[in-house]
C-alpha cells in the first residue's frame, strides 16, 4: 500500500487548471500550422493565423487562450494499491480548482441554484470529477476544462440496431452540421458508442482526450473516423462557420479546446 497526500493532488489540480487554459497543446498547434498551409479559403487561413498568434500571446502572458475557462472536468485514475491520506479527495480537488482558477485569473463560470438566484459560486467549484479505480500504485489526473459554447453543442441519440453504422455516421454529421458556426475552431468531435445513457456521454467526453492527429489503433474504427472527418469537412462549414474546404474539424473521437493536461506519479 502506497500513501499519497490529498494535498499533492490539490496542488496538481491547481497547476493543471492554469496550464490547460494558457498553454495550447503541441498537437493542436501542429494542426493549426498545417491548416494555414492546407486551407483553400483566405478567410479560413486568416482565422488559423489568428489562432496561432493567440496561442503565442497566451503562453507568453500566461493568460487564458479563451475567456471561457469552463467547468473543470477532472478524470482521475486511482491505483487500488494507493491509500489517499490527509483529507477528503473531492474537497481536495475542489480546493485545487479554487486555487487554480483564482490565482490564475481564470473565469469562474459556475452558478448555484439554477432555478433561483443563479449566483456564481465565485471560485468555479464544484469540479466535475470522474474517478476510476485501476490496478497499481499510481494516481493519474487529466484536467479538461470544458467551456459552455462547446458543451452545449453536445447531443445524444438512442439508435435502433437496424440503423447500424450508417445511423451513427448520419447522427454525428448532423450534429456537427447543426453546430455550424456556433462552435469555435478547431471543431474536435468526441464520439461514444454503446453502454447506457450516462456511460455513452462519459465515453464521448473521454474520447476528446486523444491527441489531435492520432490514428485509432483498430483499423475498422480508423476507417470510420476517416469517413466521418471527410463527411464533416464536406459540409463546408470551415473555421468559425465562415466557409472553408478544409478542416475546422480535425478527426473524430478526440481532444477539446482548451487542451487537456495530464499529470502522473510513479
Amino acid at each position: 500500500m502506497r500513501e499519497i497526500e490529498v494535498s499533492t493532488i490539490r496542488d496538481a489540480v491547481a497547476r493543471l487548471a492554469v496550464d490547460s487554459c494558457c498553454n495550447l497543446g503541441a498537437d493542436v498547434l501542429t494542426f493549426f500550422e498545417e491548416a494555414v498551409e492546407r486551407e483553400e479559403s483566405e478567410t479560413g487561413k486568416g482565422v488559423f493565423r489568428q489562432l496561432l498568434e493567440n496561442a503565442s500571446i497566451a503562453r507568453n502572458e500566461q493568460m487564458p487562450l479563451c475567456q471561457d475557462t469552463g467547468l473543470a472536468v477532472v478524470f482521475m485514475e486511482v491505483g487500488q494499491e494507493v491509500h489517499l491520506v490527509g483529507g477528503d479527495l473531492e474537497a481536495a480537488v475542489d480546493e485545487g480548482v479554487r486555487r487554480g482558477y483564482t490565482g490564475g485569473y481564470l473565469r469562474k463560470s459556475v452558478v448555484a441554484d439554477p432555478f433561483g438566484e443563479r449566483k456564481n459560486s465565485g471560485d468555479n467549484t464544484p469540479a466535475v470529477l470522474h474517478t476510476r479505480i485501476v490496478p497499481g500504485t499510481c494516481v493519474k489526473i487529466v484536467l479538461a476544462p470544458k467551456g459552455g459554447g462547446a458543451e452545449n453543442m453536445s447531443a445524444l441519440a438512442m439508435l435502433k440496431p437496424a440503423q447500424g453504422r450508417a445511423g451513427v455516421l448520419d447522427f454525428v454529421v448532423d450534429t456537427v452540421a447543426k453546430a455550424g458556426p456556433n462552435a469555435c475552431p478547431p471543431m474536435v468531435v468526441g464520439v461514444g458508442v454503446g453502454g447506457t445513457f450516462e456511460k455513452v456521454a462519459y465515453l464521448a467526453k473521454k474520447a476528446l482526450l486523444r491527441d489531435v492527429g492520432s490514428v485509432n489503433p483498430v483499423p475498422r474504427l480508423a476507417e470510420l473516423e476517416d469517413e466521418l472527418e471527410a463527411r464533416c469537412n464536406d459540409l463546408g462549414i470551415g473555421p468559425q462557420g465562415l466557409g472553408a474546404a478544409s478542416p475546422s474539424w480535425t478527426s473524430s473521437w478526440r481532444s477539446s479546446r482548451p487542451t487537456s493536461r495530464r499529470c502522473r506519479w510513479r
Binding site: 475567456q67 471561457d68 459554447g149 464536406d234 462557420g241 465562415l242 472553408a244 479546446r257
Partner: protein
Amino acid sequence: MEHALTTPLTDEAVAELRAGDQVRITGTMLTARDAAHKRLADLLDKGELLPVDLRGQIIYYAGPSPAKPGKPVGSIGPTTSGRMDAYTPRLLDIGLKGMVGKGYRSQAVKEAMVRNRAVYFAAVGGAAALLAQRITAARVVAYEDLGPEAIREIDVVDFPVIVVNDIHGGDIYEEGRRRYERKVGA
C-alpha cells in the same frame, strides 16, 4: 474587402459593408451578455430608461476572464450570439447599430437588422488573448454585480471582425458554406 471602421456607426458606413468583409474597429464598444440583456429588456418592459445609450453603438457579446494587475481586461473572445436573440430585436429597434459575437442569429434578429440598418460581425472564437491586446481600456458602466457579465465600455484599436450579416440581406454563414460544400458523390 477590408474596411477600417470608427464608432459610433453611421448609416453611411454600415451601408458599405458586405457579408464576408474583413473589418477593423477603432473606438468604443459595449460588452454585454445574457444576464445584462435580460435586465435591459426588463427595464424596457417597465418603460424605464436604460443605463446606457445604445444609439449608434456596437455590443460585443463577451464575458472576459479577470484582468491581471496592470491590464485593462483579461482574455475576451466572443460568446455564442444566439443566447441574446430573444432580447436583440428590441435593442435594435431603439438604435443599436452593431453586434459582435459568433454563430447563427434567429430570423427575427435578421429581420430587425434589415429594418434598422444594423450589422452583425463575428470575431474569432478562441482568439481571446489576441483580442484582449486590441483593448486599451475598460470601464464597468452598469450591473457590476454581474461580474464578467457586467456591461463594460471598452476602448478598442483595430479590433478584427468579419461581417456575417449586412443590411442588404447577405449572410456569410450561408454563402461561405454554399461555396465550399461538397455533395456526396460530387
